[in-house]
């Protein structure tokens, strides 16, 4: 789509991600053995034909910059525009909220880009987005801003909209956990660029850091903005804690959910790896698992999600584990309910058990 630009907030880090968030932001979390969470935002834009995208990052962005490979996986290498990493200014403190992050790029938003419409979204949303439908609905309804929401339950805290009789939101309730309150915002919005600039200008005039709690509430209550509500069909999760990550990952072992998140018609693109197919030895026993290419598997693997380049040697038993790139599990080890980060080395015979409610994380480069 011409004249539409994407802005992805990829700077968010969450203390509840523990060691998983030590080297990377939530947007950079590996997912489903193949992807990073930001692939959903980028692919959603790509599938709607939006190729001009700013990605706001502040700290721990190396994983993301590597992953972008210039934007090629999402057709975002362009002579003008394309995928545009926006790193914070050197003297900028930690962003207190999305409005502060937008203010940091306000000159860019006001003077350097020409796009009429902006889609703002988070990089840690796990959902296959139909942004074309969102934008069409926005244009048709005459709303000032349109929110993508879900009417299905979703774990965690969310901003909820209460739909009014005219189809627009009549109220916004911030950070609620109840599932019976209105509809939950996926924090994906479309609006005209001038409207976004109005929000940024108002926010910069005071200590107004937050998109929902400050700017959106103000626009709605004081400026009479009409907030359109568009329902997202299908799976959606926001990943902010280790438990979110663990649960969402295992939900993908239900095949219907997997095909719901990865439908043929809206593919999720990601960085290419020159991997071979995965090799299963004659002693491997693998059930109910998702396995990326480039692995060598000789042990027993049950209910696991295995990223590329992983080696699982013989007589290893793994249950309910998530294993990230290039990790090696040596002979005879027994693991259950463990998240192994990248480049981990689990030595022979080691036994390690977490629990479904308290998964253990082996941090990156860990040697156990």
């Amino acid at each position: 789509m011409k004249n539409v630009r994407g802005i992805i907030f990829a700077y968010h880090n969450f203390p509840e991600l523990g060691d998983l968030g030590k080297y990377r932001t939530a947007s950079a979390l590996p997912f489903c053995g193949r992807y990073r969470l930001i692939d959903f935002a980028l692919s959603g834009l790509m599938n709607a034909g939006i190729y001009n995208v700013d990605v706001l990052m502040q700290f721990g962005y190396q994983s993301l910059l590597d992953h972008f490979s210039g934007g090629r996986p999402w057709n975002m290498v362009r002579h003008s525009g394309g995928l545009h990493p926006m790193l914070a200014r050197v003297n900028q403190g930690v962003y207190g909220g999305d409005m502060e992050a937008l203010d940091a790029i306000s000159t860019h938003l006001r003077d350097y880009i020409k796009d009429e419409y902006i889609v703002v979204m988070d990089g840690n949303l796990c959902a296959n987005l139909d942004l074309q439908k969102l934008i069409d609905a926005h244009m048709a309804s005459g709303a000032d801003i349109t929110a993508l929401c879900t009417d299905r339950p979703m774990p965690g805290e969310h901003h909820c909209f209460i739909p009014g009789d005219d189809g627009f939101a009549k109220d916004l309730l911030c950070r609620r956990t109840e599932t019976s309150l209105g509809v939950r915002s996926l924090e994906v919005y479309v609006l005209r660029r001038e409207k976004l600039l109005d929000m940024v200008k108002w926010a910069s005039e005071g200590d107004r850091l937050h998109f929902h709690r400050d700017a959106l509430l103000h626009m709605m209550r004081e400026c009479g903005w009409k907030i359109g509500l568009q329902m997202h069909e299908g799976y959606a999760r926001k990943i902010t804690t280790i438990q979110d990550y663990f649960d969402a990952s295992f939900e993908m072992l239900e095949y219907e959910r997997l095909t719901d998140l990865f439908p043929e018609e809206r593919p999720i693109a990601t960085r290419a790896r020159s991997d071979v197919s995965t090799y299963y030895s004659d002693r491997s026993r693998v059930t109910n698992s998702l396995i990326a290419d480039g692995c060598i598997i000789a042990g027993t693997v049950e209910n696991c999600i295995i990223s590329s380049g992983v080696r699982i040697e013989h007589d290893v038993t793994m249950r309910n584990c998530i294993v990230m790139n290039n990790t090696t599990i040596h002979t005879g080890a027994e693991l259950s309910n463990i998240i192994c980060d990248k480049d981990v080395d689990i030595s022979a015979g080691l036994k390690l058990n977490g629990s479904g409610k308290l998964p253990l994380v082996v941090p990156r480069n860990g040697k156990l």
């Binding site: 299963y280 002693r283 491997s284 998702l290 290419d293």
Partner: protein, 398 residues
């Protein structure tokens, strides 16, 4: 832009002995070893050897091959000033003609090679599975100050009758080259990989084009003509895995070889074999699946049994289906109760419920691998016996 060395990859072959697989696609474009297509091996060897300019000569059913190669980016062959170029036959003035032979294909593209004004040209074919450092071969070529260097490997004397065979003189140079000799006097077989001094090759190609009796073939014409003219020609001895996959049996064998990672180590990151793979979800292995001694690729959904087999991307093996000692090409579906053994199943073919494809070796001469062509929907409970090759649904007995 001047290059020291470029490669020309002969990818026009029809592959008539693989007919069910090559009816709609040139042989180099056939999927192989799970993730790959045959042409991935020479293309990856080029970039790994530091050759960044490759002309790919296509002729037979090139559509899928052209779109597969695309800009060459999958193999990092998209640098400015070089890259991968698909070179089909073209019209010149009032005439235009198909490539009459391997040498004619290069002759008709002299203009392309001249753009790069190279000192050396590597000639490759698109139907071999191997990993080779052409830079090492080029170093030997330079050291010998040769006009032509031919990669060779040792074969048994029985096999020698199927190859171009070289006899060496005392100084190690090639003194005799015989195409498929009835009584070979050497076990050094040509692998169809040549490095030429471009100026010399250019002259021989022009002379050969004018010769109306020539079949315009490297093995039959150019190499013997250069030898007769007294040019310096040397062998380059190759050690390692190399397979011609021109027949159903050799194609199936080479796929099974991929199950022995020590034979073709594609896991070696220092010499990656790259592919232009579709992006798919990781492979899903279901709760009742059984997978052993196999290669499986992303996008696959395995709910049944897979043993000793090589599965390309997006293959579905449904619950109660069994795949043994087989190669299943991208997008094929094996339905419940079907058994596929010692077989090759083509792209996007549906092996319907209760079908039985292929049979284990019975020790007789007649036995062979069963082949089912692409884009078919076999009838339920259909039987495809060993050694048969099926490329329409009607051929399947129920």
């Amino acid at each position: 832009m001047k290059k020291q060395c470029i490669a020309m990859l002969l990818a026009g072959g029809q592959g008539s002995r693989l007919y069910a697989l090559t009816r709609d696609m040139a042989k180099p474009g056939i999927p192989f070893g799970g993730k790959y297509r045959i042409i991935d091996f020479p293309l990856s060897n080029c970039i790994n050897s530091g050759i960044d300019t490759v002309g790919v000569l296509t002729q037979y059913k090139p559509l899928q091959l052209n779109s597969y190669i695309g800009s060459g980016g999958a193999w990092d062959l998209d640098a400015s000033g070089g890259g991968a170029f698909v070179l089909p036959p073209y019209q010149t003035g009032e005439t235009g003609q198909w490539f009459a032979g391997t040498a004619d294909a290069i002759y008709q593209n002299i203009g392309f090679v001249d753009i790069y004004d190279p000192e050396y040209v590597v000639i490759l074919s698109g139907d071999h599975i191997y990993k080779m450092d052409y830079a090492d071969m080029l170093a030997v070529h330079k050291k010998n100050d040769a006009a032509c260097t031919i990669a060779v490997l040792r074969v048994s004397m029985q096999e020698a009758t199927r190859f171009g065979i070289m006899t060496l003189g005392e100084d190690g140079s090639i003194i005799k080259f015989t195409e498929k000799p009835k009584e070979p006097d050497s076990d050094l077989a040509s692998m169809g990989i040549y490095i030429f001094d471009w100026k010399k090759l250019r002259r021989f190609l022009i002379d050969d084009a004018a010769d109306t009796n020539s079949s315009h073939d490297f093995g039959k014409n150019i190499i013997p003509n250069m030898l007769n003219a007294g040019e310096r020609m040397y062998p380059y001895q190759f050690e390692g895995y190399w397979r011609d996959v021109g027949t159903i049996d050799s194609y199936w064998d080479a796929n099974m070889d991929m199950l022995s990672p020590t034979l073709v180590n594609t896991f070696d990151r220092s010499w990656p074999i790259m592919a232009n793979s579709p992006r798919k979800v990781p492979q899903y292995i279901g709760p009742k699946a059984s997978v052993a001694h196999s290669i499986i690729t992303e996008g696959c959904e395995i709910l049944g049994t897979v043993e000793n087999s090589v599965l390309s991307s997006s293959v579905v093996v449904e619950e109660g289906a069994t795949v043994r000692y087989s190669t299943i090409l991208p997008g094929a579906r094996i339905c419940p109760g079907a058994v596929v053994e010692y077989a090759i199943v083509g792209e996007n073919t549906v092996v319907s419920a209760g079908s039985h494809i292929g049979a284990p070796p019975d020790g007789t001469e007649k036995w062979g691998v069963a082949t089912v062509g692409p884009n078919l929907k076999l009838p339920e409970n259909g039987v495809v016996p060993a050694a048969s090759m099926i490329y329409t649904e009607e051929e399947v007995s129920v």
